[in-house]
Symmetry: D2
Subunit: 247 residues, 4 copies
């Protein structure tokens, strides 16, 4: 992660960390699962093949016709370190499994998020809350923002530590921490659920349904999209051509 | 809600607010759903009866034998106002529907939680993080705690407002807010999922599997249990006798 | 249900029976749930209003922008009597609760489905299995079909009864029954999940994504759509205008 | 699969076929996911270790305390060929992904199930439908049963083929097939959901909650339990010691 400030052991980063723990399946498995419906021989051959491959035409058909089930047998586990404000939106996705760093059982780290300079901060002209879009802040506005967030982090962390020194329950002391505190989590999600996640958490003007996610969760989602693309290039291509909809 | 402090328009409360928006079903529907399996005539009669009632023997059998499905057709919608630290645990329950106050689209209220005097704050002798239990704090410890949480709330709120005055995106300004900020949400959950929720979010020494929830979420869970008991007394009784397990 | 044949107590019907057991919510609740995000006062006013109403503009925005959560707090319980071949497809919808007539605990009824005369039975010219469409059968083809299904039903039912007379386990004896045997079930599904169900189980040439469901499940789905339309006319209208997609 | 009869190309088998397509995770991943909560360093070390291992003490604690989430990141895909009567019960488990052989798009195989000689067929003395248990049939009863099921299969298959010869829609012709027709499916399920599945679909007198599944689905479940045990021996052992409950 990208360290941008440090004060008395309190560290500030300006990015989201997302990495792959493990995955199973891939384009070949999407195809094989589709063939379970109609062609048992093809399934057996795919399972026995030395090199397994998926066929783009079939995947495209599945994505376009919203045959979602075959995408569900390909599953990813991600390890992410993101601010709580991002976790809050992420964990609203219910077709997924989560294990998250606990503020009840464990002292959190003094790690906080600060928006990078290029993060648009100012409501765009004609701003509508229904479709929130932002433009670049001035230097003044930007530094006011990150100084504000830094002050809150330092003050909250000191209160947190002080209560811990007095032996107050971790689960209460942590209430002093602000929403840009980083926590780590594991998320296991199948490819169909990922399509829905990526559809809602990325802003893509060409998508059939354009979403307006918070900038920070989009950074996490783009990192995920990169990992998924590496492992399932045909599925991601087909999903893009089908308008990035949930299938 | 119970106001305990107020400073410059910033309000502190020490409780959880939970109320019923609407529910459907009840003990009679648990029984009728069970009879769908075996006795179509009984189902029709229950639907046509002027006063619908459930039978305790049948419900007890369902709870004890873990026949969970009949409990799923009884559904509650709750309106709750609780600190974010509680929402974070609550929304991990995935067999439920949530609509939550948005910090992206809307300015939050200057309302913060402070633990009441009787909230145990100090790790119990022989404390194990696997089974976290706490005892009463001294007056000194208690006031240190709530003063600390008050300072963080006031400082965070002022930073939040200041960034808003400078027209910074709400979704960034809110990162200044701490985890004891209140938000409102609606939660719709069926009776089977509620059994699981209540099983994990209440501490009941007599339960077959004893849980060690955070004190604050237990307050919310107890309020929910009260509402559910009013509407489904036989189901809650049977579930208690079956050891308060998830069915 | 519409009785079309009867032989030795064995009855044949040509339709799907779907009725409402109970529902909660409606258009007003979709709106109120949306306002939980941004306008606590509006929510309280809607809950306290003598006559609750929903606003079409808001619902249309939710449907078009795929804000699905507010639709989840409106929930229906249906009672249906349909052939097993329909249940098999229906129960693949996982965001729902099911209680179904049991062939293990209970003797089923001698009730079987026969397609009505207007059910298209012959693959359309240029038939593709990816988009199965059918045209009307001749009288000869039609009567061959229903005579075939009648013979199977009568033979299977007699085998079923004979095994029962010999005290063979119900759960084994029932294996003699064919897929057009009727069973009853309760299904509880929220409005968001219903949108997905209706989207996949109705054929609507104007829909954004055209589905090609089995004719029989479409009959059930159309009955459900009628009931939902009666209770949530604005939501169904908005969903239609948004292309009948899953939100 | 075990062929026991054959007539005019129609084949009868007396078993369930279940094999592993692919899995990810294992005992080590259960432990690593648990440590996400409390020990980020341990997680990193486990991911980087050359040979990954899980620790029994930790897994036992998780199973006994019903900390279910860490078990969700270990996921299996099974390929099964089982009669429709078994699929019907299996697919009621909703925390899973299914792809199933289609009777709409594809001609099914003339493969049918017959109970093996040791399958108990006669209600046990003192039989209660709430806890169905059976004892061995006499030779006479057994052969009456499988002859009955054979006749139904042959008759239904001939009707099926005849309608197909007349170009009747596959989706209608298949209604002639009985519930012991075999179909293939893929099922992807995580380890936590598998615990629930195995808990309900096996009869284990020592379990904390004793289930009374249909004999045939227990055969499938036992095959699955064998595969899971091979890949996650510590988790299965801990789950057994915890009473085989859903966690």
């Amino acid at each position: 992660m990208n360290l941008v400030r440090e004060t008395n052991g309190i560290k500030f980063f300006d990015d989201m960390s997302v990495s792959l723990v493990e995955c199973m399946g891939g384009d070949w498995k999407v195809c094989a699962a589709a063939k379970v419906s109609t062609d048992p021989v093809a399934v057996r051959e795919m399972l026995e093949a030395e090199e397994r491959e998926g066929a783009y035409g079939l995947i495209k058909y599945l994505a376009r016709q919203r045959h979602g089930s075959p995408f569900e047998h390909t599953v990813f586990t991600f390890h992410a370190t993101v601010p709580i404000v991002v976790v809050r939106e992420w964990e609203r996705h219910r077709i997924a499994s989560y294990s998250e760093e606990s503020g009840r059982y464990h002292k959190l780290q003094p790690h906080f998020y600060l928006p990078p300079r290029h993060r648009p901060l100012i409501p765009a002209p004609g701003y509508k809350s229904a479709r929130p879009q932002f433009v670049q802040a001035s230097d003044y506005e930007y530094y006011e923002t990150i100084d504000s967030l830094s002050r809150t982090a330092v003050a909250g962390w000191m209160e947190y530590e002080q209560l811990m020194e007095q032996n107050i329950a971790l689960e209460v002391a942590r209430m002093n921490l602000p929403l840009h505190t980083y926590v780590s989590l594991w998320c296991t999600m199948n490819l169909r659920s990922l399509f829905n996640y990526l559809s809602l958490r990325t802003h893509e003007p060409e998508a059939m349904h354009v979403s307006f996610p918070m900038w920070e969760i989009e950074q996490a989602a783009r990192a995920i999209e990169g990992i998924v693309t590496e492992h399932c290039p045909l599925s991601i291509k087909a999903w893009n051509e089908a308008g990035r909809i949930a299938v």
